[in-house]
Amino acid sequence: MTNKAQLSKAQVSRESFGRMIWKRTLGGVGVKLALTWVGILVIAAVFAPFLANSMPLIMSKDGEVSMPVLRYLDTEDAAVLAAFVTLIGLWLLPMHLKLRSWLMWIVGVTAAVAVLASLMLKPPQLIIYDDFRTAAYTEVDWRLMPPIPYAPTDYLRDQRALPLQAPSIQHWLGTEENGGDVLSRMIHASRIALSIGIVATSIAMVIGVIIGGFMGYFSGLVDMIGMRLVEVFESIPTLFLLLTFVAFFGRSLYMMMIIIGVTSWSGYARYIRAEFLKLRKQDYVQAAVASGLPLRSILFRHMLPNGVAPLLVAMSFGVAAAILAEATLSFLGLGLVDAPSWGQMLNQAVKSATFNWWMAVFPGGAIFMTVFAYTLIGEAFRDAIDPTLARATGVN
């Protein structure tokens, strides 16, 4: 009987730990604003095709209901949607899974959906946006358009819209030099900004934590070899490597992610190494060794959570740096060809003969806000994860 009571208490305690951290992270006003901004970005990135597109979301013509937008969804859209739905599902469903199974679920579902989508979805290679403004799509019983009825690459040739229009009722954030809608392009670009930041930093983190962890824990020869490796990678200029790869292998977002990730792990490795060198001598780590705990547990359970604080801050800067790297590349005109990105939009703002403030302010502001938001979140998380800083409120 008492045993039962204790077990249920264990569940409560385990479950509430994550919530406690979450609650404490959310403590400040700044971090709430930052999370709101990132939340807006996530929504924009996931639902970009539904938020800004030239085709109707749903329409009824001659009694036949169809969803044109679905026909034009590609594998990437489907995968992003699947990941998002899984994440929300795991969040809401009353399942108490560990972080590892969370990640497994998300990666698994996303991969499965991506494979299925690539087999089943056959979006048309060429999209003629003018078609959507012909009778086939306009003279219908009823239809629902996206909130921003312009696709990012819809240059409105049929409407002979003037390019480089200042913000108006029709185009909320104005139009760019080809006549594309700036807001629509920014919404679609948020996907690149978010994904390159998170994926590149994750790659760098994983490599950095593993190499740095081994360096710090084993020290000696391992440390010496590791540090030389760090130095080699630190001497590689990321931007020029990216330029070289773009020149040889063409432009690809995934390649960019991998290159940024593979070249920027050295900072994380250094942080983790320094922390581990310090933690290795801590009594509780020695006690873990003396208890014969497996290396995995010593490294990742007893040492990593205690050494992760500087990493979290570095990570938030890393995300920001990756976003900036992509923006820089696009700004230099070496980004993705057709897909819009914030940096490329800034590039357009500079290149045109007149200064078009809306072309500089909105993408530039978005980059600034995103970088700023990640920094705020990183700092709040660092404070929250430290139980010694726990405020008097609600800790046990």
Binding site: A287, R301, P305, N306, T388, N396
Partner: protein, 571 residues
């Protein structure tokens, strides 16, 4: 009352932290006469240091306030004195020395420059040459060897004891009338402490200054004080002539504190050195003969005894000193240098020595936490040195360690429950999570903690509670052997007494073998059956505790034991 130097009347010191106000000092009164030593003694948090800092008005005004009371130093109330007037008194008429000699000197100035600065500040007419001469004199006064040459030394070139001497020289350079010493010897080794205490007594005699001495150690009180005040939670619960307070304590708290001093614990248990050697080997059911035999084997360092639990033979742990471009080894630090001994089953063996003698390294080398350079460590006849991590795994559960520092001995990110159950899971103790939880709860109860402490984080506990949890972590694996590495030296004396009694009880019921690493001779006398004295990586003396402590043969052991401040040495 012209010989009254300092009169503290009804002093209150409140500290604000956030919305809370802590009554750190709550109405204490005492007087110090010229040439007298007044000791404030109490446990951590009793307000003894705060009351001393109040005298110097060194507490930050933003958080500290004195709602009542006055501190009269020669007709002047220090609490209401303007800052300029106070500065003339600070340093020149009242000086202070602190606990931590490592941090109380400025590392970028030579010691001479630091003393000279103080001198010239308080004697504006002094020329540099005169100041230097007086500095050298001050250093000679504190018996720093080669004072004339060492004036230009920097703090890092001095040992802890030498730094504390420099601190005293700096405090005494201006010939103050009152010296406040805040635990000046707590961070020092016993033999160094003895020298510093002797020095302070001599200086007091020659200069006639008064001493306000703050300590937690009743042995030091006995050696130093004329008058003593016992503090508890900001109040002075008892004060009087030292001999009277120590011999016939009136207040319940003083009695309790004195009873907890290891010396007195030992006296109660009837196992003080020299009383009766046979009493010093109280060994459980298995029979006294076994332990007597193994005691002999330990004393001789040979293998004649009955199968020992741990055999250490020619153990060396050398740390290389690397220098130069290619980091070649130029020399070794011989932390443990050719040590051999056996630990009999069910015995408590104390390993005594000063800081840096290699006792901690030896303890860790036995557990294979430190890679021995050479030699052998056998447990139940199995060689442990050189075993792979995998082969060592089953032995890990049988030997455990408990640590000194309650701050770092528990993983701050893990629940106590995880800390306790994870090793059990690795060693297949308990069939399922529920059973392990039950066992972890039992372990907590065994160390006299509540079962529901399982669901808390380490930072929610006091130092003594954490040490208990650390013990529980060692106990959950049902080890045969535990290395206790100074587990009580960071604790208050009453908490220490509880932990020591707990250890004895657990040993009696589980037939545990303990290697108790410590520098505290009182603890050794109370707890251990056998004692090994370590000096510069070697074991210089070993034998039954009564024999080693009562009739030390080695010169170092004799010096060590002579340095221990004892209650019976009332000044």
């Amino acid at each position: 009352m012209s010989d009254l130097l300092l009169d503290v009347r009804d002093l209150h010191t409140y500290l604000r932290t956030g919305e809370e106000t802590i009554k750190a000092v709550d109405g204490i009164s005492y007087q110090i006469k010229r040439g007298e030593t007044f000791c404030l003694v109490g446990e951590s948090g009793s307000g003894k240091s705060i009351s001393a800092l109040s005298v110097m008005r060194l507490l930050p005004a933003a958080i500290a306030s004195h709602p009542a009371g006055e501190i009269v130093f020669q007709q002047e109330n220090l609490l209401t004195l303007p800052d300029a007037a106070l500065r003339r008194i600070r340093g020149s008429r009242i000086a202070m020395i602190f606990q931590e000699p490592m941090t109380s000197l400025n590392p970028v100035l030579s010691i001479g420059a630091q003393i000279m600065e103080a001198l010239q500040l308080h004697n504006p007419g002094l020329s540099t040459a005169e100041a230097e001469e007086r500095t050298i004199k001050a250093l000679e006064q504190v018996q720093l060897p080669n004072a004339r040459r060492r004036v230009r030394d920097f703090p890092h070139q001095l040992s802890g004891g030498q730094r504390q001497r420099v601190m005293i020289a700096m405090a005494l350079a201006c010939e103050p009338e009152l010296l406040i010493a805040d635990e000046p010897t707590t961070a020092l080794d016993v033999t160094v402490q003895a020298e510093i205490l002797r020095l302070m007594r001599e200086l007091q005699e020659s200069t006639g200054m008064s001493l306000l001495f703050i300590t937690h150690d009743f042995g030091v009180v006995a050696e130093m004080a004329h008058q003593v005040g016992v503090m508890q939670q900001g109040k002075l619960v008892e004060k009087g002539v030292t001999e009277q307070v120590l011999r016939q304590p009136q207040h319940a708290y003083t009695q309790q504190l004195l009873a907890a001093v290891p010396e007195n614990l030992a006296r109660q248990a009837g196992r003080i050195r020299g009383d009766n050697p046979s009493l010093t080997l109280p060994i459980s059911k298995e029979g006294t003969s076994t332990s007597a035999d193994s005691a002999l084997s330990l004393a001789r360092g040979d293998q004649a005894g009955v199968s020992p639990l741990i055999e250490v033979k020619n153990l060396k742990v050398w740390f290389p000193i690397k220098k130069g471009l290619f980091r070649h080894t130029v020399d070794h630090v011989k932390a443990v240098d050719d040590v051999s001994f056996e630990l009999p089953k069910g015995g408590i063996v104390a390993l005594v020595g000063e800081s840096g003698c290699g006792k901690t390294t030896l303890g860790r080398a036995i557990l294979q936490l430190e890679q021995p350079t050479s030699g052998s460590v056998k447990m139940r006849g199995t060689e442990l040195v050189g075993l792979s991590a995998k082969a060592l795994q089953p032995w890990r559960g049988r030997m455990q360690i408990a640590f000194q520092d309650p701050q770092s001995s528990l993983n701050p990110r893990l629940l106590v429950e995880t800390t306790l159950t994870e090793p059990m899971k690795v060693h297949d103790i308990g069939n399922n999570a529920e059973e392990r939880l039950e066992l972890a709860g039992d372990a907590l109860e065994r160390v006299q903690l509540k079962r529901d402490f399982l669901w808390r984080y380490p930072h929610e506990f006091s130092g003594g509670q954490r040490q208990r949890i650390g013990l529980a972590r060692a106990l959950v694996l049902n080890p045969a052997f535990i290395v206790c590495d100074e587990i009580t030296s960071a604790l208050d004396v009453s908490v220490q007494a509880e932990i020591l009694q707990l250890l004895l009880a657990i040993r009696a019921e589980r037939d545990l073998t303990l290697l108790f690493v410590t520098h505290n001779i009182g603890v050794v006398e109370y707890l251990s059956d056998w004692t090994m004295v370590m000096y510069q990586g070697k074991i210089v003396e070993r034998g039954p505790t009564a024999q080693v402590c009562g009739d030390p043969q080695d010169a170092y052991t004799q010096k060590l034991l002579a340095g221990v401040p004892r209650l019976d040495k009332v000044a």
